[in-house]
Structure formats: structure tokens, C-alpha cells
Symmetry: C2
Subunit: 255 residues, 2 copies
């Protein structure tokens, strides 16, 4: 492990360098095991002595898949890590790539898509991806003003689900919504005012749109809604957390 | 503002001192407005020059309620603050106190209670309290091994809901569950294996129990369950985030 390689690894905490290298870091055994299982393009795994000694089966799997790996000291791992107490294993993974036909192929008769307009909190973004995975949502579409899905905190809070579910990041939200409509999707927009989410009968090809934590959906996107849906409350809270809203609505949609 | 008072304020970031002073800090305009509106016992509000100038109505309210307040520099506020960019207003509030009759009075015919066994993540705890408030849950019961509800990150993520809903913290979970059963409550425990949560008809006096993020409910508590309930998944995720689970289940219970 040369000094310059160490430096380029640490740079991956910043979006700019991730975009340059088209790579991101994954930390922790569970997430890395998922990335291996899903045949992600992993070009390096760093593991500390103690863990390599303990996790013989994992090391065997890494060797079997011919993934380059290096055993280094825990201190070196900690220097690259984003968390206070590293688990002692970090992988560098190439950006994930999915075929747009997964969402735009007209032969798809049953599809559930989550569309995130401007989710800014990494914990929320990760939790939404994890929740979408739990309920078997087909794809997640993210607009580019949202937090980067390869941000270390997002990766961490997906708990491995980042590798399970196709995620598409698009620049032009409006253009994509139009294409989805042309492809026969019904657009449901989560909003504070709308039809009760649990009184709606969802189309077999549904896109559910969620907006920013503080500002909700932009008017630009809202005008493409076939239906506004809402989670009715009774207490004094001003709003629900967006990841919780996603969970409540898709538990109904995927019921 | 003396040096020793500044010091004692900063100490409130630590549980030990909060317990000693029976007080905690609340930051940000929105949460402090909620604390004032709910007549919490606020013994000090610190506000920076610029904000005091801008928020004349808030200052009027503070004066009207005869709450002690001091205008200090933004830098001083930032030194006390738990967040990187303080909003310029911090309050010291006395621990909240609720009458146990709110949960143990046998005349209560309709009650929905959330019972948290060992929630360890402050963001989850705060989000659960906010969600409970949204759906009009009557009380939240928390076992003492959970994260402290006065932890700054918990307070922040409740978004003011901490002041809306009675919260009880108890030492002995088992004893409380027994008392709840004696008082006619049905105990539903969220678990990975159980009846589908949306096929259950919930009793008018329901307690829904949620366990630790990583380990779930302890066997000690599980044996008091009248019914285990589960959120069925379809994808590859190993579990759901606990705050999302709470949202999904109580949206059904409070439907």
C-alpha cells in the first residue's frame, strides 16, 4: 500500500473524488459480504491482521473471487475509515450500473418505483433504500440534487441494501417523470394535502414520489402527479420523517 | 452570564450532569417555541443579538411568560451548542414530568402506548417520538437501558414532539409490563416472526413493544407478549430500521 494509494482512498470520502475515480468505499463486514455476493465490481479490499486471522471463510471467498486484497494494520484501516471505531475492513467498489430498460421497458407489467426528489439527509437516504429493499420495490430513482448515494453515511445506513436494488440517478427530474408517464406509470406524490394513502388503490405500475425533508415536493414535479397522497395525522407533530413516510406508504402499496 | 454558569450549561451535553441538574438543553427556534407553548419549565433562554433583533414576537412571548433570558454573542451561543451551526438560540429546560395515572388509571378505556425496550440510536429514538406524536399515540414508555431522551440528538430529532407526548422512563421493564397487563392492556411485541401486523385487530388498550436495533426484544419481555406481530418483507434486506417499523405498525394500530 503506497502513500499515494492511501491518499487516493481517503479522498473517496469526498464526492468530487468519487466521481473522478467512479468508486466509493464500503466499510464493515456485513455490507462487504453483500457486495461480494451481488458480484459488485470490487477492486480492492483492505483487512486488518486480526480480522483476517478471525474471518478465514471471508478471506477464502475474497480469494475465490480473485478480488485484490491487502492485509494491513488496524491503525492504517482506521486512518482511511469514516467511522470512529472501524470494524477493520474496507472495500473500494466501482459505481453501480443498471440498465435503464429495468424501468423503461414497456413490457414490464408490474413495477413499483420510488422517486426521490431532493432528499438531503444521508441517514434518511440510506434508510429509504433499505426500506425499499425490504418491501421488494423494483427500483429507486433519485434526482441529482439529493445527497450522493455513495456518501459513506448513506452506504452505511443502507445496511447492504445498496447492492440489492437498482438505483438510478438522473439530472433532469421533469424529463424522467414525463418518460415514466409515457411508459404507462401512474404518478403518486406524497404531500401534506391529498387523498388518504390507505384509501387509494395503486396501479400495477406505480411511481411514488417523495420530496425534500423541509420543503416537500417542488411545484414543478407536483404538476405531473396523477394523485396526491397523504398520511393523515392526529397529534401535534408538524410532519413525519421522510424515511418513516416512505415505509408507511410502500408497506401499503406493496401489500 | 458568569464563567461557571457557562460551564454548567456545557456540562448538560453529558447525561451525568443532566441527571444532577435535572435539566437539559433545547436548541433551535422551532423546538423552543413548542416548549414555551406547552408550558414546560424553562429556566433560561439564551439568544444571540442578531436573532433577538429579528424575532421580536418570540422575545415578547418569552418576556410575557417571565422566563429568564439573556442576550449574548453568537460566538458564546456556538460555544454551548451541540451542533456545528447553531441557530442562535438555546434553552435550559427542567426534566419533563408526567403523572403515572395517564397510563395506569383503570378508567382509561382507550389507550395506545409504545413501549421501547433498548433503543440505542438517538436519531431513531427522536424519530420514534416524533412519529408517535404524529399518530396521536397516548404515551411512550422507555426502559432505562435505552438512549437518554434528553440527549441533544434525541431532542433535536423529535422536532418539538418531545414536548407533546407523555414519556415515561422506567428502570424495571418486566415490572411495568406486568402492571400494564394487570391494567387491562394487550401486549403486542414486534418481532421477525409473528402474525402479520396488518391482519391483527388491535385491542382498544394496546401496548406495542419494540426492541433493540441489533438484537430485537429480550426473551424476558417476549414472554409477556399476548401476540407477536411482524412486518412481512419480500426483498433481500435483513431487517427494517426500527423507527420505520414503528411508523408502519402504529399507522395501522391508529388507523
Amino acid at each position: 500500500m503506497t502513500k499515494s494509494e492511501l491518499k487516493s482512498l481517503k479522498q473517496l470520502h469526498q464526492k468530487k473524488y468519487r466521481d473522478e475515480q467512479k468508486s466509493f468505499l464500503v466499510e464493515g463486514k456485513r455490507s462487504i459480504v453483500e457486495a461480494i455476493r451481488e458480484n459488485c465490481d470490487i477492486d480492492l479490499i483492505l483487512i486488518c491482521n486480526e480480522l483476517a486471522e478471525k474471518e478465514k471463510e471471508l478471506v477464502r471467498q475474497i480469494k475465490e473471487k480473485s478480488i485484490r486484497f491487502e492485509i494491513i494494520s488496524y491503525n492504517e484501516i482506521q486512518r482511511i475509515s469514516d467511522v470512529e471505531n472501524s470494524q477493520g475492513i474496507i472495500a473500494r467498489v466501482k459505481f453501480l450500473n443498471y440498465d435503464e430498460n429495468l424501468i423503461f421497458d414497456k413490457r414490464n407489467e408490474k413495477k413499483r418505483i420510488i422517486f426521490l426528489e431532493n432528499i438531503s439527509d444521508p441517514g434518511n437516504m440510506g434508510t429509504i433504500i433499505r426500506t425499499a429493499d425490504w418491501f421488494g420495490i423494483d427500483s429507486v430513482i433519485i434526482c441529482k440534487d439529493s445527497v450522493d448515494i455513495y456518501n459513506p453515511k448513506v452506504v452505511r445506513s443502507t445496511m447492504g441494501s445498496l447492492f440489492h436494488i437498482p438505483i438510478f440517478v438522473f439530472d433532469d427530474a421533469q424529463k424522467i417523470i414525463k418518460r415514466l408517464k409515457e411508459n404507462g406509470y401512474t404518478i403518486y406524490v406524497a404531500d401534506l394535502k391529498g387523498e388518504k394513502y390507505n384509501k387509494v388503490s395503486y396501479s400495477t405500475k406505480s411511481v411514488i414520489v417523495f420530496g425534500n425533508e423541509a420543503h416537500g415536493i417542488t411545484d414543478t414535479l407536483k404538476k405531473y402527479a396523477d394523485k396526491l397522497i397523504t398520511i393523515q395525522g392526529k397529534g401535534k407533530a408538524e410532519s413525519l420523517n421522510v424515511a418513516v413516510s416512505v415505509g408507511i406508504i410502500i408497506s401499503q402499496v406493496c401489500n
